[in-house]
Symmetry: C2
Subunit: 386 residues, 2 copies
């Protein structure tokens, strides 16, 4: 469900599909391809993803058309290992060294780790493709990416950006992602500027201060943080500290190089800081953090759901408020066959608020979300297993 009633262009994109992963017979050589085709079997995965574009919707559109294909491809590359409880040291299944299984066991490598690795590699691959595609068509922009994959009894949620996924279960709420913003990744970003000062081209300071410094501050000791600090210290202000900070602003206003509100995502290969030659991409990461939820370890109830949404929802509603809405809506609408999609609409409408005069307001008279809002509600009960 997407709502872009208030902004000129909708930059959110959504995708969902079934992913069929071709299973190769173990022990077959590449040149026995015809045998593989004869004995093909498929593993099935279920995929949902949200992409929040910036600088135009193009990157989000390519990602929504392409990321599932990258995931399929990366899973097929390792499928021989996924079907074993312990992936073999060699994908071919051959044992070069008698103690191979022991090494895999010692390192605690499970089939699940191959799926996580495939998702990490798929995001990187998709980012490269977007870069090529955007360059070829002379387009710009980027997007965040939040992807959920249900595969062989486990839910994998891969996130790069500031969208969020939570499981709303009967008795508790399980966060399935964390946000990557210039604020949450300040130390990583400052460290890179420390290692490669040229990336700032003399235009930015890597230090963080509580506010932008002014001429009057020079010579005084003011609060600051460097890349290695979680705490704060005081430093004597020099002229160079008056430059614009690499990470600046607070909360939703925090910006990387004064330009971007997220620190991970896909695209943005051509993005430069306005009126400069400074590239933003070196500070961005396309690598997701993957969280795994194993259904075998939980007793899933009928109204348990996965909620995925872009920041348009989470800017105005916290996890707890969303969970309350989910539980009360599903309790009140037990028989409606479309209750899960109705719930998604309900969540979008709550975050969009009501128009009062020129302003959109929430029920509690706080300001409503001005951003695009996209929500998936995915029921977890009665999963088809293959």
């Amino acid at each position: 469900v997407i709502n872009a009633d208030k902004s000129e262009f909708n930059e959110d994109q959504a995708a969902c599909c079934q992913i069929s992963i071709r299973k190769r017979e173990p022990g077959l050589e590449e040149d026995e391809e015809w045998l593989i085709l004869c004995s093909t079997q498929f593993l099935t995965g279920y995929y949902w993803a949200l992409f929040d574009g910036h600088g135009g919707p193009e990157a989000a559109i390519i990602a929504s058309n392409y990321l599932h294909y990258c995931i399929k491809q990366k899973l097929e590359e390792v499928v021989g290992g996924i079907t074993e409880a312990r992936p073999p040291m060699h994908l071919s299944g051959r044992c070069v060294c008698d103690s191979d299984p022991q090494f895999v066991e010692e390192k605690h490598i499970y089939a699940e780790d191959l799926v996580v690795g495939a998702l990490e590699n798929a995001f990187q691959e998709c980012d490269e493709v977007i870069g090529q595609e955007m360059e070829a068509t002379n387009q710009t922009g980027g997007c965040t990416a939040l992807a959920a994959l249900y595969f062989r009894g486990k839910l994998y949620v891969a996130n790069a950006g500031d969208s969020r996924a939570i499981l709303v279960l009967k008795d508790n709420v399980v966060p399935m992602s964390c946000e990557f913003t210039p604020q949450t990744e300040r130390q990583r970003i400052q460290h890179l500027a420390f290692l490669f000062p040229k990336l700032l081209d003399g235009e930015f300071t890597r230090f963080e201060f509580p506010r932008r410094l002014k001429g009057d501050d020079v010579g005084q000791k003011v609060l600051y943080r460097d890349y290695f600090m979680e705490g704060w210290g005081y430093k004597t202000v020099e002229k160079a500290d008056l430059k614009y900070p690499l990470v600046h602003g607070h909360g939703k206003q925090a910006r990387l190089l004064g330009t971007l509100a997220v620190s991970r995502g896909l695209g943005d290969h051509q993005l430069k800081v306005i009126d400069t030659n400074i590239e933003v991409k070196p500070f961005l990461s396309c690598i997701p953090k993957v969280n795994v939820f194993d259904f075998a370890l939980h007793d899933i109830k009928e109204d348990d759901v996965l909620i995925m949404a872009t920041d348009g929802l989470w800017d105005v509603l916290c996890d707890k408020e969303v969970a309350q809405t989910v539980r009360s809506f599903l309790a009140e609408n037990q028989t409606d066959p479309h209750r899960f999609s109705e719930l998604a609409k309900c969540l979008v409408c709550r975050a969009r608020g009501q128009k009062r005069g020129h302003q959109w307001m929430l029920d509690d008279s706080h300001e409503a979300s001005y951003d695009d809002i996209s929500v998936f509600v995915i029921p977890l009960h009665n999963r088809d297993e293959d």
Copy 2:
């Protein structure tokens, strides 16, 4: 308490002392130093630290003599901000901009953050001093550092290395540190090698494999991880992959560049990989992770203690076993005035085990610790407040 019965040289060092932090009157200029001296007041901190040396005890000795001085110095530099609930934007207390307090509030900066920042800076300062001292005296080696500071109602535990601190409270155990080893910091270390391949001088591969690869593996697809992966994938083995891995081995055997078992600590400025020109120091970090425990938020009972110990203890006893020993020992020895130091001895002896033939064994007939073992037991009840 230190036990080095089984090793030729004891490389553990311990330190504890009171730290007096000179408090300056706010608003005084540096040239009014005589006024400051007249009106001097002191804040008191209590300090305990353990240092586990490697490549000789020298770095650990310097650190045990010097780290508390660095901490005192760094705290005095920011003491004007520490005595306020909200540190002022300017250490002088002057308000250059009316909204300064608001910016400090928005960034959630508290006095506690200045103590954390002072500890982070103190470790870095101490590392530099050790580097200069060791170079001047032509000595080598390094050490881990675990430091606890009780200051103004809060306990700060700063850790760089594989020592550990836990709070054993009546009803639960609170971890106050986490370990930094080549395994826990694999991604940081691999990422640095990705950014600066020259650091490996063509002698190491940055990829992780379940075991060291052999000629027979070339051309095959084997399990691997790169810097951006928490999961695993398969890669086709090339000749370059046969090189020794940057991070290799599992558990206590894991080594950085085949050389070091820890990835954070002080010293090691001159350390090179044997028979090469490859420096280890760029991969090491001297920055501690600081954990804070606020006594105002907890009801501390009479037998609640902080346990600090080097890896010699934790290699053979887990948190739970240590907590059990702590609780039963203190319950059985309620009147002994030296019961806390007796408990420390008891923990050391448990980890050292009993000599049976040529082997030292634990009670449960597992192998005992062969490393140096140092333990602090610090009672938390009846703290003097200043």
